[in-house]
Subunit: 337 residues, 2 copies
């Protein structure tokens, strides 16, 4: 029986394309002691992975050329040599983009399929949810009546950020890139306002939506969208810096207005963070998110691309802004349903 | 008897020049109840004052056209209608650039002339000292063995920052603009290294001096000097943003590399602050600084320009980088010495 994985064929310059990825047929692996054989059900494509395709210093090691790309995966245990896992268990972890793989029992966590659809463990109850929760609550610290702006608001992290901010009693303004997304944020997620950054009146609309200034800016996109938000900061503003997706594929240095003077004038705080910084507090975050979900205060949205073979296109789509909510690739059905 | 004050004649575009200031002869004022008549002995010229010459939103109200400029002043009480002050008392406060002025008794604090030269209450034991202390200790939080870089290192704030960082056991690197300043920082203040940003090998020397990266960057200057420091940040770096003197006289928007990605990669914190944010804790800061001064751990340096009539030139000199340490104008001798 054969297996298949997706390798990094070459480091992209600018947007990833067909030269970036390579499908490779491999042998079906067999688990050793304390290992399990995992069949991939869903895999996650995330903007941060673009950084790992680049060489050089970053927060995690770059992907190696001619090796499998890895990221968030949900899988089913199809064979177990671990006493902790049984055939049929659903697990999640940072695993390879492969149809099947063997992993050590310590590399994955069990997912409870009775709690919520298993795909949520890559979204609202997984890394994107934890990213939103810790970045907003720990760095942003929104207070009742404050104005919270979130960019990339219709993305996996952004839509959770906005909903948590609403739960905290903030006035929430989302920035996204299509009318469909804007409508979704306002009508389905009850954002107080949402603005399309492609709108020629973006600046005016942002100003109107933030008539009391901006107390928290949850930064997902960087670039000139953010430059506009920075102009509206209030004294003691907080800016959790989660991502800068607009610059990830830049070939040139990303130039913009220097922020020092604005930070001084507003005694503002900017802090970059990674969800991995909060790994010890994950259970706290996921528990709170699950609680809000049960109470009906927190909705989630997924865009699911069908088929392992469509993974490269799904990844490339992240930078075209087509996904609403968490973007996932569905690789296979669980065997036991 | 006549008095004299310096008014803002027009808002400068770019560097302040002779059109910016106007000397005006005024009447000698007489104090009302609860007021004192203060004779100016020293006045302080500081980079932040450039911001107040600009119209529009900033952290303090802009100076008004055709009104006296105000800033840090040390004066002598020459007449008192306040029970809290006697003739001969030395006082300091945010007062007008005038040879004489009446002020309410609540607008000034007494200076103890037996503790240290009175001019230090505009420098190491005044606002610049408190700026260095709170910015570094509260936001920078240097730890033993960490690398602390300070720009504007030979200025009033910078040289105190570097010395406090040394007291905390950090490896201290100063950035300044002349060989004289570099020599002073290394030889007199025991900085571990100091680098001239005008040196063609600035980048290489900065890299060498920060061979373990940068844990704290105390930002006084902004611009492309700071861009270079940002490239060397370590994980969990802290950047107290105190000033951006390189941009204060810019006529155009100050463009540079956007910082978001660097902040994420390094989980770095940037926080703008004003010394006034710490006004409640001033006594704590000044007491600690005075203690270190008594113990011989903290030196200070002043550049004193003689004569009220030379105040505009002294202010303009701030942006030419000619001063070593605190730049003061000596307006008069105390009457009673």
């Amino acid at each position: 029986m054969q297996n298949e994985e997706i390798q990094l064929a070459s480091r992209p310059v600018g947007l990833p394309d067909e030269k970036t990825f390579r499908f490779v047929t491999t042998e079906m692996p067999t688990p050793n002691e304390e290992e399990i054989l995992v069949k991939t059900l869903y895999l996650s494509v995330d903007p941060y992975m673009r950084g790992r395709m680049r060489e050089g210093k970053s927060y995690v090691a770059p992907f190696a050329i001619d090796e499998a790309i890895s990221g968030g995966v949900i899988g089913e245990v199809v064979e177990s040599k671990s006493s902790n896992f049984q055939k049929g268990d659903i697990v999640t972890g940072m695993l390879n983009w492969a149809r099947y793989q063997t992993v050590n029992e310590t590399s994955v966590q069990k997912v409870n399929p009775s709690l919520a659809p298993i795909s949520t463990s890559l979204g609202v109850l997984g890394m994107p949810g934890a990213t939103a929760y810790f970045g907003l609550m720990d760095i942003g610290q929104p207070k009742e009546g404050e104005t919270v702006v979130v960019s990339g608001a219709a993305g996996a992290v952004g839509m959770i950020v906005g909903q948590i901010a609403k739960i905290q009693g903030a006035h929430v303004v989302g920035i996204a890139g299509s009318q469909e997304k804007i409508d979704y944020l306002v009508n389905e997620l009850n954002f107080d306002a949402a603005i399309n950054y492609k709108d020629p009146d973006f600046k005016t609309k942002l100003k109107e939506a933030c008539s009391n200034g901006v107390d928290v800016y949850f930064e997902n996109v960087g670039g000139d969208i953010s430059d506009e938000v920075f102009k509206r900061l209030n004294v003691n503003a907080r800016i959790p810096v989660c991502g800068a997706i607009s610059s990830y594929n830049n070939k040139e240095i990303d130039l913009g207005p220097r922020v020092q003077t604005l930070l001084i004038q507003n005694r503002a705080l900017m802090k970059g963070f990674l969800v991995f910084d909060y790994i010890d507090r994950f259970p706290e975050g996921i528990k709170q998110l699950a609680g809000w979900m049960m109470e009906g205060k927190l909705k989630y949205e997924e865009t699911i691309v069908e088929g392992f073979e469509n993974t490269p296109e799904a990844f490339e789509g992240l930078f075209k802004g087509t996904n609403l909510g968490k973007l996932l690739v569905k690789v296979a059905e669980p065997s036991l349903t």
